[in-house]
Amino acid sequence: MKFRYLKNVVTLELDQSKCNGCGLCNEVCPQQVFALNGKVSSITDRDACLECGACVRNCAPGAISVRPGVGCAYAVLMDMFNIKSKCCGDACGCSLDDIEY
């Protein structure tokens, strides 16, 4: 099952005129947001994007942009109160330890 979060909120943008068709965005995206149509990538499932920034970091021609961040309310709260984020600390469940290596 593929989960989708809120509609029309993500900051992901793709400038197809800069795309070199390498397909790495499609490869690194854990949510299958992109599809490669022939020689150019396109965004086919924008609302599934979690703004992790993997595609941007691996887009050599710089065709993709996103405001990367971690979708974690706890971290946002800590930020709001200017508390030095203890995220990924003892109180945080933001680890999917089994599915990664």
Binding site: M1, K2, F3, R4, Y5, L6, K7, V9, V10, T11, L24, E27, V28, C29, P30, Q31, Q32, A48, C49, L50, E51, C52, G53, A54, C55, R57, N58, A60, R67, P68, G69, V70, G71, C72, A73, Y74, A75, V76, L77, C87, C88, G89, D90, A91, C92, G93, C94, S95, L96, D97, D98, I99, E100, Y101
Partner: protein, 379 residues
């Protein structure tokens, strides 16, 4: 974060002869020599390398359970460096991993029968995906460790297999440019590595997807629960004092036993709300209507508040019922919202949008609810 592990007597394997730039300090493997997951050493062109077990022992399992419950989680680490699986040679694949022991264990237990190298980065004991997002599993760290472990001298294929979920922090073309190693993104799950290697370093689309199935969600609930210990203790104290003051207020004698039992029965609906928020919301996530996680929490909270009020029937006064309908959804909505950090699919933009709506409502409802709760004891 505990650094103790790194300050133990060092077993220095890699006497640096300042190969490339001389900038990298020799790797110290901490107490790896005594670690229960080390099975021996093999000789390589760059000195001896520890071999690691591909089966988990009881101590590893116990450690995993402790980490899941948040015990010593931030110091559950593996010394960064190069390790051998099976009997690898210069042309064997090099897998890159994080130095969180849970990540390391979930990798090595999938590798029995394979011959390869594992390059463990110093991700400060954080798992791959979080470390990539926080910048400790980064292009810089990959390049640094490639040089520190002297891989250019011993890995003939000049290729690294890096977890796909580290891509937010690792730029394949930058790694190539800076240390000459080609980066291949491996599958999301360690369990797919044997198939990935067999297929000539190719991941089929299913291997590239994160799953967030029931088990993935359930396994996260212990940490959610342990995080509730302190607020729960504070709330119990609050209810106890309320009962105490109301008894004194009414001019009755204090009976400790009845005070305690009254406190516990007052606590019941809210304790259940905590369980609903921390366990039921994650478990039922895809089946609760709506998209925002605070909304999903709210839905279950309202259902529980209605159910509990109905169970009490005429026993509960108006104020008490109001306090249930305000405080229970606040607890479940807040915990639902908090679960965003544990999911695989929530974006920062979405979380900020959700919080802009949910947070003021949560604060207002909590305030009103507490007023109603206190008032119910005295009116």
């Amino acid at each position: 974060m505990s650094e103790e592990q790194f300050n133990l007597p060092m077993v220095d394997n890699h006497q640096s002869d300042s190969c490339c730039t001389g900038e990298e300090a020799a790797l110290s493997y901490g107490n790896a020599a005594e670690a229960n997951w080390v099975t021996g050493q093999i000789e390589t062109a760059v000195g001896p390398v520890y071999c690691i077990a591909t089966t988990l022992k009881r101590r590893d399992m116990l450690g995993s359970i402790k980490a899941r419950w948040g015990v010593g989680r931030m110091s559950y680490t593996v010394p960064p460096g190069l390790y051998a699986v099976g009997n690898p040679d210069q042309s064997s694949p090099v897998l890159v991993s994080a130095n969180y022991k849970l990540s390391f264990d979930s990798l090595r237990r999938e590798l029995s029968g394979l011959n390869l190298w594992i390059l463990v980065l110093d991700t400060k004991g954080i798992n791959v995906w979080c470390a990539a997002g926080k910048g400790t599993f980064s292009t810089e760290e990959v390049v640094r460790m490639v040089n520190a472990a002297r891989l250019p001298e011993m890995a003939s294929k000049k290729t690294l297999i890096i977890p796909q979920l580290s891509a937010p922090g690792v730029s394949a073309f930058e790694v190539k440019r800076r240390c000459g190693f080609k980066v291949i993104f491996g599958p999301v799950r360690a369990a797919d590595i044997p198939a990935f290697l067999k297929a000539g370093n190719r991941a089929d689309p299913a291997m590239r997807r994160t799953h967030f199935n029931l088990l993935d969600r359930l396994i996260l609930t212990p940490v959610e629960l342990t995080a509730l210990a302190k607020p729960l203790a504070a709330f119990i104290l609050f209810l106890f004092l309320l009962n105490l003051v109301s008894v004194l207020f009414a001019g009755n004698a204090i009976q400790t036993a009845s005070l305690v039992s009254q406190t516990l029965s007052d606590l019941a609906p809210f304790l259940a709300a905590m369980l609903i928020g921390a366990v039921f919301v994650p478990t039922l996530l895809p089946y609760i209507p709506g998209r925002a996680l605070s909304w999903k929490g709210l839905v279950l909270g309202l259902i529980w508040a209605a159910t509990y009020s109905r169970l009490l029937g005429s026993e509960a006064g108006l104020l008490q019922t109001a306090s249930y309908f305000l405080i229970i959804p606040v607890i479940t909505a807040f915990l639902g919202m908090n679960f965003t950090g544990a999911t695989t699919y929530t974006s920062l933009s979405g979380v900020v949008k959700e919080m802009k709506v949910a947070l003021p409502l949560i604060v207002a409802a909590a305030g009103l609810g507490l007023i109603a709760l206190v008032a119910a004891y005295f009116i």
